[in-house]
Every structure is written in C-alpha cells, then in structure tokens.
C-alpha cells in the first residue's frame, strides 16, 4: 500500500517537475509558460495581500447559498417522491434526463427572471445541485430493507422513532453520495455561471485575466480553485467511505 502511495506521489512530482522545466525553457510560448512554482507563489502572494479575497469570499457565499437552497428543495423532493408513487412515476424521467441537458443554457432566462447580480448565478448552482441530491435520496430511501420497516411497525414505533432508528441510518450512506455530488455540482454550476455572466468571483477573475493576458494571476486563480475543489471532494469522499463501512458493519 505504501509503495502505491509513493508511486502516486512520484508520478505527480515528476509531472510537475517536467512542466516546471518546460515552462522555464519557455516551451509553451509567452502566455502559457508559467512554471508551477511561480503559479503557487503568485497564488500565496495574492491571498496574503488580499487581492483575491473579495472574489473568493463572493464565490464561497454564492456556493453556500446555492447548495443550501438545493438542499432545501432537493431533500424534501426526494422524500415526497419516495412517498408518492404517482409523482415518482411522473417526475423520474426528468430526473434521469436531468444532467443530459446543459443546464447553464438557462442562464439568459435566469437573468431575465432574477435580474443581474448574484441571483442568476446562485440559481444555476441550485438547479445543478438538486438533481443529484433528489436522485440519491430517493434511491437511498428505496433501499431501506422492507423487513426493517415491518419490524418498526410491529414494535409500534412512533413515526419519529421510525425516522431516527430505521429510515435515517438505512438511508444516510446513499443519501450522502447525493449530498457530496450536489455540493460538487453546485460549485461547478456557480463557477461556470461566473465565467459567463458575473462581475466578480473567482470564475470572473479567471475569465478577466484570460481576456487581459494576465497569465500569472489567471494560473494562480485556477490553481486555487483546483486545490480547494479537490480538497473538498477528498474530505467528502472520506466521510462517504466511513458511512459506507458503517452500513456494512
């Protein structure tokens, strides 16, 4: 196992070293030849002198808001679809086809409905997140073993007790997959929306730097987004693994 980890680290290190060497030799032309060490240094400097902080704060607020609303809509929707077979039959085809349509294509309509500012950006984050949350909550609820629900009935558990002792423990591992994906998809939706229509935020900052040939700050901001999103995903995946183990135990 440790050999595998070493190999993994070695591969990443070698790839970065080759990139560093090529960039220092200006092998990619003037705009693209930013060495990884310079990207990293620029990122740290921009964070310390506060240049990036307003954008980071705004994007974080948009993602938090979008994810919060997606949860508020997506979780109850999953429960409702589990309870009502008619509604589930009616809505499930839309859920299955949810991510095959480029959802951010709705942005002109969102601008019309919500005006300028952060509302249409948050809206894209919301619709991007809801599908994964609802779908996985529904799948999780459907996978509750019938015998457990029957047991709860024969023990005459009150609805609240059934919820706490049967439904939630049986559903959480699968539902958490939806919570993780919902977060990632909300994040992707917000940043994609910022690219297209924002006047602030990290997505806007990257697009602005690209349009103005400021490659150093562009790469530094890209690096920041990559580090933060990979870190978030890793934390969520490790929680998910633990929950899955707990289910098997």
């Amino acid at each position: 196992m440790s050999r595998i980890l070493l190999l993994r680290i070695a591969i990443v290190a070698i790839a970065i070293a080759i990139w560093e060497g090529l960039a220092r030799a200006h092998a990619f032309g003037p705009t693209l030849s930013v060495p990884p060490t310079v990207m990293f240094a620029t990122m740290i400097a921009a964070l310390l002198d506060g240049r990036l902080l307003p954008d980071v704060g705004r994007t974080a607020a948009e993602i938090a808001l979008a994810y919060g609303i997606a949860l508020l809509i997506g979780l109850p929707l999953g429960v409702i679809l589990w309870r009502s077979r008619v509604l589930a039959t009616a809505i499930e085809p839309y859920l299955l086809a949810y991510y095959v349509i480029p959802l951010f294509a709705f942005y002109p309509l969102f601008i019309k409905i919500f005006g300028a500012g952060i509302a249409p950006i948050v809206a894209i984050g919301v619709i991007n997140g809801i599908g994964a949350i609802t779908m996985n909550v529904l799948v999780g609820l459907r996978e509750i073993p019938r015998v457990q629900l029957a047991l709860a009935r024969s023990l005459m558990l009150r609805p609240a007790q059934t919820l706490v002792h049967v439904v939630i423990p049986a559903t959480v591992p699968q539902a958490f997959v939806g919570l993780r994906l919902g977060f990632i998809y909300s994040l992707i939706g917000v940043i994609a929306a910022e690219f297209i229509l924002a006047t602030a935020g990290v997505g806007y900052r990257i697009a602005f730097a690209y349009n103005n040939f400021e490659s150093k700050i562009m790469f530094a901001t890209i690096l920041l987004v990559l580090i933060v999103s990979i870190a978030c995903n890793q934390v969520l995946i490790s929680i998910e693994r633990r929950l899955a183990l707990y289910r098997r135990a």
């Binding site: 839309y94 294509a105 002109p108 939806g178 297209i196 901001t221 995903n233 890793q234």
Partner: protein, 257 residues
C-alpha cells in the same frame, strides 16, 4: 403499477410541463417568455432560414469528434489500468480527483493552446467525456469474473476468440453506460465552451441571442439542446436494454455517481 398506467402518467407529466410553460408565458407575456407555440414557430423559421441548422451542425461537428476521441482514449487507458492491478490503484485517485474538478476553470488554457476555433471545443468536450469511460472501463475490466477467462482457457480459445466471445460481451453492458455518460458530458463541455468563447454553434447562438435580448431565439436554442441531449440519451438507454441485463438500480446509481 401496470405499464399502461405508468405510460399514461408520464404522458400527462409531459403535457403538464408544456401547459405550465404556456401558462407562465401567458402570465408574463410572450415578450418576456415566449411560449411553446411561438418557440416552435421560431425553431421552424430557424431551420427554414438556415441559421439554426448551421449552429446545430457546427455543434455536432464538434461533439462527434470529441466524443469519438474521448471514447478511444478512455477505453485505451481504462483497459491498460484495468489490466494492471498496481497501476490501476496508483492512478485511480488521481483520475477521480481530476474528474471532480470544475473543468470550466481550465477552459482558458484550452483556448490558449487550441485557439478560439473548433479545436478548443473538441478538446474541451473530449476532456469532459473521457473520464466516465476510462473509470467505468477500468472497473469493468478489473472486476471481470475470472471464471470467464478460465472457461475460455479450458475451451482452448485463441486470444482473438477470447476477446470477441468472452471479454467483449462481458464488458459491453458497462461500456454502453460509460458511453452514455460520456456523450452527455462531452455535449455539455462543447456547449459551455461555445457559450464562453466561439464563433459558431448552438452555445454561440445562445450567448449572441442573450446579448441582443432575443428571448425567442434563446428559447429555441434551449429546446434544441434539450432535444439533442435527451434524444441521444434515449438512444443509449435503448442500447443498454438490448445489450444488457444491467439492473435498474445499478443504472440509476451510475447515472447519479
């Protein structure tokens, strides 16, 4: 619930969505939100005047090569990493890490490398689509039941026969799922690329219509995008049912995951 009742409910839900759209259009006025009929007229007009055809063909001419390259590259690396347990384990978290990244942040790099034309959209779409195929192919090959290969050996099949009669049938069901997910992501990647910076295609048409406040065209493009996305997805769903006894819950899980 029997199949007939199910189909009836689904039909009713489609009708309900269209009626809701028409209702909102009526309340908000058609200038604010063109309704279904007006949108259909604009689409018809777009096809007869040619601008919608041109944009659709441009987008497809980017999506198809991007998808083909994603499928080939994904299959190749999926096979290589699926056959070697060690290298598979070494690369798996790296690949999943890159897969979870908001790829749109990297689009400026694609633009700088491949310029604003079709090449950057093809590369960006391919970058979206390659991961599901690679990940699914790797796990399908790594998890193929050893007994299949044992049977092939005991029947003295040649390597080519083993590939055609044992390996391929065992993998095809998962691969079709991978191709379906890959197509959706490739399509989304290409359209996003077109919206952000391009000179043609449905995404370009959408952002141009947005900038001139032409909601009728915006709606027309959204409908075409939805029809393309859903249509191809249905095609792959049919293919899945034909090739594969993959269970329903498994298919849902892969879609969501």
């Amino acid at each position: 619930m029997n199949a007939r009742r199910k189909n009836l409910i689904r039909l009713a839900s489609i009708v309900a969505v269209i009626l809701l759209w028409a209702l909102f259009a009526r309340i908000l006025t058609e200038e604010f939100l063109p309704g279904p009929l007006l949108t259909l007229q604009v689409i018809e007009q777009g096809f007869s005047e040619g601008w919608l055809w041109k944009a659709t063909l441009t987008t497809l001419s980017e999506v198809i090569p991007a998808f083909a390259i994603a499928a080939a590259v994904g299959l190749f690396f999926g096979a290589v990493l699926g056959l070697s347990k060690m290298w598979g384990e070494v690369f798996e978290p790296l690949i999943i890490g890159v897969y979870a990244v908001p790829k749109v942040t990297l689009y400026p790099i694609f633009l700088l490398v491949f310029k604003v034309g079709a090449a950057s959209k093809i590369a960006f779409g391919m970058f979206h689509g390659v991961f599901p195929i690679q990940i699914i192919a790797q796990s399908a090959i790594a998890n193929m039941r050893p007994v299949y290969l044992k049977v092939a050996r005991s029947l003295n099949l040649s390597p080519a026969q083993t590939l055609v009669h044992v390996v391929m049938p065992a993998l095809i069901p998962s691969l079709v799922v991978g191709l379906r997910l890959a197509f959706s992501l490739t399509f989304i990647g290409v359209v996003l690329g077109e919206i952000f910076a391009s000179r043609g295609g449905l995404g370009f048409l959408l952002s141009a219509a947005d900038q001139t406040f032409d909601v009728k065209r915006v709606n027309a493009v959204i409908v075409i995008l939805a029809v393309l996305g859903v249509g191809v997805n249905l095609f792959f769903n049919m293919l899945e049912r034909r090739v594969a006894p993959v269970s329903g819950s498994e298919r849902q899980a892969t879609l969501a995951g």
